[in-house]
Homo-oligomer: 286 residues x 3
């Protein structure tokens, strides 16, 4: 893990992310600035259980505790794993929920406990209500009421900020294809080269182990979308596998690939007006 | 476990149980009294494999070795776990079996080995025959014959006897509802309050952990039967989960709840003329 | 394991095996004799993934690394487990493959790695091509290319040679019946007597544990084929269970049983022109 941290650049932002971060910062300043790190005065939402589970599943493999930034436009989560190699950036618009009412603030949530509690709600809808007095989040359905203690957001590590980056190559591929690339790579190695070839246009995943190697190719006809450009970077398969598990099931994956810069993997949140995006720092040890 | 044993009353009987115990005692005395702890002279039964598996599955989570009291009316098993917090009381009438012939006596059986052996009988019917000469139980189908060594019943701990108790509240609920109460409770705590509210009539399961809590409610309309009365007791979730797994799949669960007295959980044995009943001592540490 | 090796005879051949070994030896000598332990000059095959997986699954439980003898007629694998108690002898004719081209030689293959790589080929056909320059085996489909390093065949233990044996009794039984014999036996013991009774004709599996025993009987009407003769031998259930898992799913199992000589278990390879045969040395400790 320390080798990984040493040999990997820290995750850098995509242009989109930067814009999002900016607009989030603006909306925070529209409100009152101590809100940046305090719970909101009001936070109430009603949602399908499945939408909240998709959100939680995307964050759970990356961090144990996360800061959920909320305001009247919806929720946003940015978090990086302890080694700062993988980062998740997720936002869900207010209209994705059956009901949503929130002032600006930050909730400190134990992701795994929220996941556990959602798993026992045996109904379609669930309601989340902040009780600022007790600093708890009430998660309730018609028959079940769970009360989760919130964590002081200031005690939760913030995701690193990151400069603007240009990505030469963009590919969109099926869920199963990224899954196969990761599974096949792990059979022989602990890292994977993600390569885009412009002349002989293809997206290529290359895993080279001590004795064996695997190459998995996707040609333009196999891809949902493809903007080729010469690009190649090497990534940790453990982290890539973590991100692959964290992605919502169903939608195609949108990749942005550069030369020894972080990989961007993005997917829309199914059944919601929102997006989850992962950044994975490259390995630079060769 | 020792804390559990210290803080929990020993299991107490239900009125029904007492009557059963009495009638069992009577029928034993009709026979010859050394039979109380000796194998019967004759024991032969033919049964569907599924009926015997239901019996064994109900006892297996509570004890490794059990005493099966048999006479011409059927079989009865009373056993408590080593901490004497959970107790099973099960009886199956002779007419539940395809064929049944037995004198009065007690069989000492390794429950887990009987379970294993039943799991490999690939036919509908199985026959159990005691061989008093070798003190073995022959478990056989058309194609398979297993011989299990019996244990001296005197070497197996007897379930504690227990006084008569009055239960104010009675509820009957679906299998899935009890299952959900136990599953949800275990997400946040190691004990569960089972509460019946008379004024605002409902059955309520309350789990309070160090940081989080879960409440699961069933109103009269959600219950198969409900005789409300103010009642509340606290139970170990480990033991309640054990009992929940031991219950036969299918039938609704009949609960008797009092104030800091043992919980009674009862269900009929599906496809047989018999009942299984569990008693769980309350935790009295608060 | 050492007790096992001490108490068990080494595996002995069946008449069929001997003939196969001879013909293999002849065809090797038709070529050039150093080929006996060297990779062939040419080896290329195209096969359904499922046929190759059946081959690999048959060998994987017995050895980690194996020698695949190849010539223009097909492939043959003979391998014994480290204790030399269980042996696999497998051959697949060239016409079983979509395409097959090979000179005489031996490939040294890591069975488990080949298995892993086949598991990620998500297409119907797979192509194996030897690259003699790099001593690697290329396993490829349309979209996936894996390169496996081969092992020097001389560093892989050869299966022991074995004399000719007469088998008095032959039985052919359903996959599920052998499975049940092994599963039931393991419930009570670590060894199994395989017995053929001629007078009261039946095939009998007898497991005798310290306290319990299981007997599973198959009468002539339950068997696909039966040539009875008095025969009885005792085998390790661990090894028999290993062989049972290694057998291809589907076809009936052909058993040859003698008196304290190796058990022969044989099955055709489904969807191919080939056979897999296991020999299991008897336990002779009683």
């Amino acid at each position: 893990m320390s080798t990984e941290a040493d040999s990997a650049d820290e995750v850098e932002p995509t242009p989109e992310q930067d814009t999002q971060a900016q607009s989030a910062a603006e909306s925070e300043q529209d409100d009152d600035s101590p809100a940046r790190d305090s719970p909101p005065a009001v936070f109430k939402l009603t949602s399908t259980v499945s939408t909240l589970q998709t959100v939680v599943s995307a964050v759970d493999p990356i961090v144990d505790e996360c800061r959920i930034a909320v305001d009247d436009s919806g929720i946003q989560i940015q978090a990086s794993d302890p080694s700062q190699v993988a980062m998740v950036d997720l936002q869900v618009d207010a209209q994705s929920f059956t009901q949503f009412e929130s002032t600006t603030g930050v909730l400190g949530v134990n992701v795994n406990r929220l996941d556990e509690v959602l798993s026992v709600v045996d109904e379609e809808l669930v309601r989340l209500v902040l009780d600022p007095q007790t600093n708890t989040l009430q998660v309730s359905s018609d028959e079940m009421t769970c009360t989760l203690s919130l964590i002081d957001p200031r005690s939760i590590r913030q995701a690193p900020s990151h400069p603007d980056l240009e990505y030469p190559a963009v590919c969109q591929l099926d869920e199963d294809d990224l899954d196969l690339a990761v599974t096949a790579g792990k059979k022989v190695s602990d890292h994977l080269y993600v390569v885009v070839d412009e002349d002989n246009p293809e997206l290529r995943f290359d895993a080279r182990g001590d004795t064996d190697s695997v190459t998995y190719r996707r040609e333009p006809g196999d891809l949902v979308a493809f903007e080729p450009a010469e690009a190649a970077s090497k990534f940790s398969l453990d982290h890539l596998s973590e991100i692959n598990r964290a992605l919502p099931s169903g939608p195609t994956r949108h990749l942005q690939i550069g030369n020894t810069i972080p990989l961007v993997v993005r997917a829309p949140l199914p059944g919601a007006d929102g997006t989850v995006q992962f950044l994975l720092a490259p390995r630079t040890d060769d």
